[in-house]
């Protein structure tokens, strides 16, 4: 489903990704792990087209379609969703308004009918309840004054409502206590399906106890330097990233 080949990405003058290749078939969950500064967040931002992240070489394809040529909102409409490491606060825009605007914009871009107000509210109530989000919170400006855990749950709620095909989770476990981590992971696991692919970017093995990956990749110095099964994450937890840093 997601096919990245020889990806080179530059931020300003600095080349951060230096020939990264990665394949995630539909139905699979892949984890990308790596030390600080390896380019993990750059990978997630490059996939969603954040301004300032310049693809200088290589390709990103979703079901064969070149994503790099599309604007961020066009990629979203194709089903690409990033759960941000640091979700933004949007003063003045209630969570419900934001979510409905996003859902209808995606539907419109895909040539589908907009969701009716009752259908939208029913969907949000159901998904919010599963994530133990108080519905009243959705009437407040999105993420403004929310705790780290609440913001992450709002990310997963948006993901559940928008129902993307490619899910990218950037350090979703950061700032979460064990209870919040469990709720978030359950929300993510509920979205596993044969026609979805998931890319889980994380520092630590801990998240992978809850979201079980099919494959684990090590990102160091801008490239994938090792790939393996879930056991690779356990090994990294024991021995650290040192030997991969030298391999890069």
């Amino acid at each position: 489903m997601l096919s990245i080949e020889n990806l080179h990405v530059r931020i300003g003058e600095a080349e951060i990704l230096k020939g990264l290749s990665l394949e995630i078939p539909a139905g699979e969950v892949h984890a990308v792990m790596g030390p600080n500064g390896a380019g993990k967040s750059t990978l997630s931002y490059a996939l969603v087209g954040r301004p300032g992240y310049e693809v200088t070489d290589g390709t990103i394809r979703l079901d064969g379609e070149d994503l790099a040529a599309l604007a961020p909102d066009e990629r979203a409409a194709k089903g690409v969703f990033l759960s941000f490491q640091y979700p933004l606060e949007i003063p003045g825009v209630p969570g419900l308004t934001f979510l409905r605007t996003a859902l209808n914009a995606q539907k419109k871009a895909r040539g589908e009918d907009e969701a009716s107000a009752p259908a939208f509210l029913k969907l949000v109530r159901e998904k919010a309840a599963a994530l133990k989000i108080d519905f009243e919170m959705l009437k407040r400006p999105l993420n403004v004054g929310f705790s780290g855990g609440e913001k992450k749950r709002m990310e997963i709620l948006q993901m559940a409502v928008l129902s993307p095909r490619l899910l990218i989770l950037d350090e979703t476990d950061s700032g979460l206590d064990i209870d919040a981590l469990r709720i978030v992971a359950e929300g993510v696991n509920a979205m596993r399906s044969p026609d979805r692919a998931m890319l889980v970017i994380t520092h630590y093995q801990r998240l992978l106890d809850y979201i079980r990956p099919d494959k684990v990749h090590v990102l160091a110095a801008g490239r994938i330097v090792a790939s393996g099964g879930p056991e690779l994450a356990l090994e990294l937890e024991r021995s650290g990233y040192d030997r991969y840093a030298s391999a890069a």
């Binding site: 979203a76 933004l88 949007i90 825009v93």
Partner: protein, 350 residues
């Protein structure tokens, strides 16, 4: 020096120019080489519904500076009454000039919501409206002003407000500007428990200009003024905010707060701001804040990652920035009209 004077005499030398400090960002002299001929009477039967249709007990229309109702140019609200009045200034003119006046008096304890609109069906006209407003002891006026002039019009609206002790003025002006458009409010504030809220919102696109100018003169002890103006400019538009609060000697325990915050949405748009607090008393609490910036690029990207187009994301975030001013309007119907109006302007501009 005033536009009204120039229209009356036909003498362009009466127009305010950039040499007048208070008019340096809204020069009229440089714009008008001659005063246009007087506007015709206008066709009352061609009037469309006003923006506050259905919200008021009574509607008064001033068409090309002429009164259409029997009340004449003076309106009084009797003691203890509670009224909602729609006041419509309509310019149905092309290439002509007109001037209209109104005196509004609120007797002690009177309560008035005034839904004021400045509407246009013509083009390239020159319009001046002058209001003289008096609030008696304990009277309360909520004035909501919606200014929707033609893009190539020159329009000046000035209000002179006299407060009495315990009176309250709550004002919200919303404007999209014009070729030159100025809304000026001058308040004489006696203190004595009286309060003034002077809010403004400008949302200016294309080559329009909007100028919100105000002056509050605190003359006695125990008065309060709060002011929140927010604006967004795009295209080659220009926003002007001039807010002056003067606390005279002896006007102790004055509480005055002024805020002006603007978004510049394009490279060629401009905002000129001059917030002034002139304090001649010792025991006062006065503060002002002024910020001018661009939309938050990170928030914009976040919305786009969720599928919202750039134009829609910009409109959504701009509306969110401005809406605080609208939320402070007490009259629910007018607040809804204002909210819709802001959304419509942003839809049109994107």
């Amino acid at each position: 020096m005033s536009l009204a004077g120039a229209i009356r005499t036909g003498n362009v030398a009466e127009l305010p120019s950039r040499r007048d400090e208070d008019w340096r960002w809204s020069d009229l002299r440089g714009l008008l080489r001659a005063i246009p001929p007087a506007s015709p009477e206008g066709d009352a039967s061609a009037l469309a519904a006003g923006p506050f249709e259905g919200l008021a007990d009574e509607e008064i229309v001033v068409l090309n500076g002429r009164w259409l109702s029997g009340r004449g140019a003076a309106v009084s609200i009797e003691a203890g009454a509670s009224r909602t009045l729609a006041l419509r200034f309509v310019s149905q003119a092309s290439g002509t000039a007109h001037h209209g006046e109104l005196t509004l008096t609120l007797a002690p304890g009177a309560l008035l919501t005034r839904l004021e609109s400045h509407e246009a069906s013509g083009e390239a006209y020159v319009a001046d409206s002058a209001l003289d407003i008096r609030l008696g002891d304990g009277a309360r006026l909520e004035r909501i002003v919606l200014i929707d002039e033609a893009a190539d019009a020159i329009a000046v609206l000035s209000a002179d407000v006299g407060l009495s002790p315990r009176a309250a003025l709550d004002q919200t002006v919303l404007t999209r500007g014009a070729k030159r458009q100025r809304c000026e409010t001058r308040v004489r504030h006696p203190g004595g428990g009286a309060s003034a809220r002077l809010d403004g919102l400008y949302l200016v696109a294309g080559a329009r200009q909007a100028d919100l100018t105000s002056e509050v003169l605190h003359q006695g002890v125990d008065g309060s003024t709060v002011q929140l103006t927010k604006g967004a400019v795009q295209g080659q538009a220009r926003g002007v905010f001039q807010g002056r609060i003067v606390v005279q000697a002896g006007a102790d325990r004055t509480d005055a707060r002024m805020g002006h915050h603007a978004l510049i949405l394009s490279e060629r748009a401009e905002v000129d701001a001059k917030p002034e607090l002139l304090i001649h008393a010792d025991d006062v609490a006065c503060a002002h804040g002024n910020t001018i910036g661009a939309l938050d690029a990170d928030a914009l990207f976040y919305a786009r990652q969720r599928g919202v187009s750039e134009a829609e994301a910009r409109a959504m975030l701009t509306e969110a920035f401005l809406i605080e001013v609208v939320d402070r309007i007490a009259h629910e119907g007018a607040r809804n009209v204002a909210r819709e109006w802001v959304a419509a302007q942003l839809r049109d501009a994107s």
